[in-house]
C-alpha cells in the first residue's frame, strides 16, 4: 500500500507540530515523521485537532530536530498496541516498542488503544479478597480483586517499596508494570524486586523515564492497559501497577498547556477527572473472563491538590502512606464490605472499634500538645496511639495471616483498655477478651 505523504509543517512547538490545511488525516490517527533527505523514520505522531485550515499532531519522540521540510506519512489507523505472550518478562516504552535492548517481539495481534468503556452489565460485583499479609490492609482496608486503588504518598515516602511488597504477594496470573516519569533507580528497583520474587516471567514492564518524550509518557497507560485488558479478556487475572499517576497528570497538564487549553485548577485541564477515570475504570472483574486490578501511586504535597483529589473520587479508596507507615485515618478500601463480612465474626467490629479509639486518641494527642490530656483515659489513649502506630500501621516486614493480625489487634486493645471502653459488644468481649 502506498501511503500518502506531505511536507508542509507550518509550526513546530514543544511536543506538538501543526500543518497547514487539512491533509486528509482523521482524528487520533497516526502519522510517521521522516527525514526529507534520507527518508529515515524520526518519530510517530497522532492527530489531535483537525480543522479545514490546520491539523495538529502530538509527536511521540518530541520535536527536537524536526524542521518544516520534515515529511509526514499517513498511516490511516489509530495507535495500536502489539500483543503477544512473548512480551512476558520484557520491557517496552510508552508506545509499545521494545526498550530492554533485547530482540524484537513478534506480535500476534494489534490491539486498539481507545480503551472503550466496559459495558457495566458484564461487570461482576467484586467479591474475592486479595490478601497482602499487611495487617493495615487485610484487617482494616481489605483489598478486593478488580479494585482500583492508589497509594497516596509524599514524594519522599517509600511508595514504590510498598507497591512492590503488595505485588510480590499478590495472586495474579500476569503483572503489568506501568511506570511514568520514573527515575532510573526506581525502574531498576522494580525490576530487581520482581526478579527476586520470581515474578519476572509473568511481568511485562512498560516504562517511561523522567526526561523521555512526554507524549510517550502520556500514551503509556493506554498501551499498558490495552495489553492488560487483552490478557483479562483471555481469562487471566491481571494486576496493573501504575506509578506515578501524578507524573502522568503533569504531562497531561503540559500538553494541554501547549495546546492553549483553558486551565481549570492549578493549570490542569478541565478534563483531568475524565482522563484519570478513563484509565482507572479499566479495572474490572468481567463475566466469563478474567479480571484487572489496578494499584497506583499518586505522589502529593497536599490531599487537596487536583490530582489526588480527583483520583480519590475515581478510585475505590486509597492507601495513605506517611512517615513510612500506612495511616488508618485517611486510608480506605471501598470494597472491603464486600469481603470482610465473611471472615471471622469479630473482623468488622474490631476494625470499627479500633478506628474509633484511634480518632479519640488523635484528639488526645492534639490536646497533649497544649498540656490538656492529663486525665487517666487520655493517657491510656496516648499509649494506645503509639502502640497502634508501631505495630498495626507498619506495612513492611514478614507477612501476617488475617487471623493472626486480628488477634494482634485484640492484644493491643487488651494492653490499654477495659472491655467497656472499647465500644465492642458484650458478645465479642465474652468470646475474645480472655486470651485462650
Amino acid at each position: 500500500m502506498i501511503r500518502k505523504e506531505i511536507n508542509r509543517i507550518s509550526e513546530v512547538g514543544k511536543a506538538l507540530i501543526s500543518v497547514e490545511g487539512n491533509p486528509g488525516v482523521a482524528l487520533n490517527h497516526v502519522v510517521e515523521l521522516l527525514n526529507a533527505q534520507n527518508n529515515q523514520s524520526l518519530s510517530f505522531a497522532k492527530a489531535i485537532n483537525i480543522t479545514e485550515d490546520s491539523t495538529r499532531f502530538q509527536v511521540f519522540n518530541g520535536t527536537q530536530g524536526l524542521n518544516t521540510k520534515t515529511k509526514i506519512r499517513m498511516h490511516e489507523v489509530p495507535l495500536t498496541a502489539g500483543f503477544s505472550y512473548n512480551m512476558l518478562g520484557r520491557s517496552f516504552d510508552g508506545v509499545g516498542n521494545v526498550s530492554d535492548g533485547g530482540p524484537e517481539v513478534i506480535f500476534e495481534k494489534q490491539l486498539s488503544t481507545r480503551l472503550d468503556t466496559l459495558n457495566p452489565t458484564v461487570r461482576l460485583v467484586p467479591k474475592q479478597p486479595l490478601w497482602t499479609g499487611i495487617p493495615m490492609i487485610d484487617v482494616f482496608n481489605t483489598l478486593v480483586k478488580s479494585q482500583k486503588i492508589p497509594i497516596f504518598a509524599g514524594p519522599t515516602e517509600p511508595y514504590n517499596r510498598l507497591l512492590s511488597q503488595i505485588a510480590k504477594g499478590a495472586q495474579a496470573d500476569v503483572i503489568i508494570f506501568a511506570g511514568i516519569g520514573l527515575k532510573f533507580d526506581e525502574y531498576h528497583y522494580f525490576k530487581d524486586e520482581l526478579s527476586k520474587s520470581g515474578n519476572m516471567d509473568k511481568t511485562i514492564m512498560f516504562t517511561h523515564l523522567a526526561g523521555d518524550s512526554q507524549i510517550k509518557g502520556l500514551m503509556l497507560p493506554d498501551v499498558a492497559l490495552s495489553v492488560a485488558r487483552e490478557f483479562s479478556d483471555q481469562g487471566k487475572d491481571v494486576l496493573v501497577l501504575l506509578t506515578d499517576m501524578t507524573n502522568w497528570s503533569n504531562i497531561l497538564r503540559n500538553v494541554a498547556n501547549y495546546q492553549d487549553m483553558i486551565p481549570s485548577l492549578q493549570g490542569y485541564p478541565g478534563s483531568l477527572y475524565s482522563e484519570l477515570a478513563k484509565r482507572y475504570e479499566v479495572a474490572a472483574d468481567i463475566e466469563g473472563a478474567g479480571s484487572i486490578t489496578i494499584i497506583g501511586a499518586t505522589t502529593l504535597e497536599s490531599l487537596e491538590d487536583p490530582v489526588p483529589d480527583n483520583t480519590g473520587y475515581i478510585t475505590e479508596g486509597q492507601f495513605f502512606l506517611e512517615n513510612g507507615k500506612l495511616k488508618l485515618a485517611r486510608s480506605l478500601s471501598r470494597l472491603k464490605q464486600q469481603v470482610n463480612g465473611n471472615t471471622r465474626n469479630d473482623h468488622r467490629s474490631i476494625m470499627t472499634a479500633m478506628a474509633s479509639l484511634l480518632a479519640d486518641a488523635e484528639k488526645a494527642y492534639e490536646a497533649a500538645e497544649v498540656g490538656a490530656a492529663n486525665d487517666p483515659f487520655s493517657q491510656k489513649l496516648l499509649r494506645y496511639r503509639t502502640d497502634f502506630i508501631n505495630n498495626i500501621e507498619e506495612p513492611f516486614g514478614e507477612p501476617i495471616q488475617l487471623e493472626d493480625a486480628i488477634d494482634m489487634c485484640w492484644d493491643v486493645l487488651r494492653r490499654h483498655f477495659n472491655p467497656t471502653e472499647t465500644g465492642l459488644s458484650k458478645k465479642l468481649i465474652d468470646q475474645y477478651w480472655e486470651k485462650n
Binding site: 482524528l27 490517527h29 452489565t121 460485583v125 478488580s146 483553558i262 481549570s264 478541565g270 478513563k278 490536646a367
Partner: protein, 591 residues
Amino acid sequence: MNDTKTKRIGKLISIQDSLVKARFYDDVIMGETAEIAVDGKLLQAEVLQISADPKNADAGIVEMQVFEDLTGAQIGDAVEFSGTPLSVLLGPGLLTSIWDGLQNALYPLGKQDPYLKPGMKAPALDEEQLWDFTPFVKPGDKVVGGDAIGSVPEGRFEHKILVPFNFGKCQVKQIIEKSSVNITQIVATVIDEHQKSHDLKLVFRQAVKTPIPFKERAIPKKTISTGVRVIDLLAPVSYGGTVGNPGPFGAGKTVLQHALCKYALADIIIMAACGERAGEAVEVFKDFAELDDPSTGESLMNRMCIFGNTSSMPVAAREASVFIALTVGEYYRYLGFNVILLADSTSRWAQALRERSGRQGDIPGPEAFPMDIPDQIKGMYQRAGADSGSGGSLTFIGTVSPAGGNFQEPVTQATMDSTGGFWGLSQDRADAKKYPAIDPLSYTTSVYDSFISYADREKMLQTLHESNAIDQTISTIGLKKVPTDKYVVFQKGLTIDFCVLQQNAFHDLDACTRPERLKIINTAVQNLIDTPINFNAEGKDDEQLKEMIKTKFDELRQWWKDWNSTAKNEEQLAALPAKIEEFVLQEEYAL
C-alpha cells in the same frame, strides 16, 4: 413529524475532542440533535451554537458536542440534523431498566459486545414485551396533551398511557379494545385542530430540557422515612423536596446513596449515576435486585431504573443523563407516583459543562466553571416538587463532590442556594468512622418537618452543640478544669451521637429505623437530655468521680448499641426508655 421536509445536512470543518464544527447551507435549530457519519458509524451530537461563516456568506457554522468517541472522524464527514431536541422515550417498561446516559439499554448492548463502542445503539425500551392495554376513552372524545387514553399494569403500578405533552386539543378517531400490545403498535389515532392525524402508541418521546408540567404544584409537606436516623430526626426531607449532599471522597456518599436506594419509602427510585464509578452502579443493579423492597417485599429493582453514565463514558453524555433522568422522574410524578431521584454526582455534571465551555473558549467563571453554573443548578433542582393534582412527587437528592472537600467551591455553594435540605458529610467524622458522616452541627440544614417535634429536634441539636463545645474546652484546658455537670452534658451528647446518630449501614436491623422506632428512641433521648443526673460523689475526688461517670456512660452506650442491633419485639423495644429512666435516676435508686 419532519418527514415531509428534505434532509438537512452539513459537513465537518473542525474536530477537537468531543467538540466539532460543521458548515451548513439551509437552516439549523438551536439544541436539535444530529448524526455524524464517521467510518460508517452514526454518532449522536447536539447543537450548541450557531454562527455566521466568515468564509462563505451563503453558509453558516454550527458548533456541536458529540456524545461518542470521535476517533477516525475527518474533515468533510457528513452531518445530518434531526429537527428534534434531545429527548427521552417515556412509557411502560422504564422500571427495572438500566441504560447508558443516552437511554441505550445496557443489557441488549452487552449482548452485542462487552465493550461500548462508538455508534452502538439499543432500543430504550423492550419492543417485544406485551402490555395489557385498557382504553379509557372512545372515538369522538376530546383529549389534550397529558390526558390518559388508557392504562397498562407495570409491575404493581397502573401505568397510564398519555397523549404526548406537546399535543394541543385533539379528538380521538380510533382506539383499540382491551388487548395485549407492544410499544411499537398503534393503540389510538387522534386528530388535531388542523385536521392532522397522529398515531399514538404506549410510548412517546419527550424533550428533556423542557420540564413536564405539574398538574397542581404544591409545597412538599409529607416527610419521607429514609430509615437513616440522623436524616429523619435532624435533617429530614419531604416528598417533592430537594437535598444537596456534599462530602469529600471517602466520607460515605456512596454508602448513604445505597442506603437510600434500599430503605427510603417511595414508589420509584431513579438513580442517575453521573460520571461516577461503574462498580457502584453495578452493585445496585446486580446486588440490589436480590434485596426486598421494604414496602412491598418484591425485588428492589422493581421500583428502580438506573442511568449508568459512568466516569469513563463520553463526557458530553453526562450532561444529558441528568436531564433524561429528571424527565423520567417528572413523568412518573405526573402519573401520580412518589419518585426519588438520586443524582450521583451533580459535580461531575457541572464538570462536564466546564469541560465543554473550556473547549468552546468561553470566558471562565470561578474555578473555570461556566459563569451561569449557579443558575443552571437552580434550574435543575427546581424541576423537583410535589404535585397535589396528580398526587405524585419528585424528590431530588443530588450528591456534590467538592474539589478538595472544600464546601466554598462554586457547585456546593450554588447547591446550598438551591435546595431545601443539605446533608454535609464531614471528613473528621469519616476519619473517626462515625457513619453516616453527616455532621449535624455544620452544613446540615432542612426546611422540612421531622418525625419528631420541632422543639425536640432543636433540643437535641442544642445538646449536641453544647457537648461539642465542652469537648473543645476539654481539649484546650484539660478535663480537670471542666465542672462535673458540664462533663455530664458532654457525655450525654456523646451518647446521642454514638447510639442514635451513628448507624451501621451494613447491619440488617440497625441499617434502617422506621418512624415508630424513632419515636421510642426520641422518648429516651429527650428523657436523657431533660433529667439532671446526680452521680454519687461520696468518697471520690473530682478525677475519680469523672472516671466513674465515664464508666457508667460507657456501659450505657454499650447496652444501647446492643439494643440497636437486637431489639425487635415490643417488649425489647420498650427496654430502651426503661433503661434510660433507670439510668437518669440512678442516684435515687442507689439511695
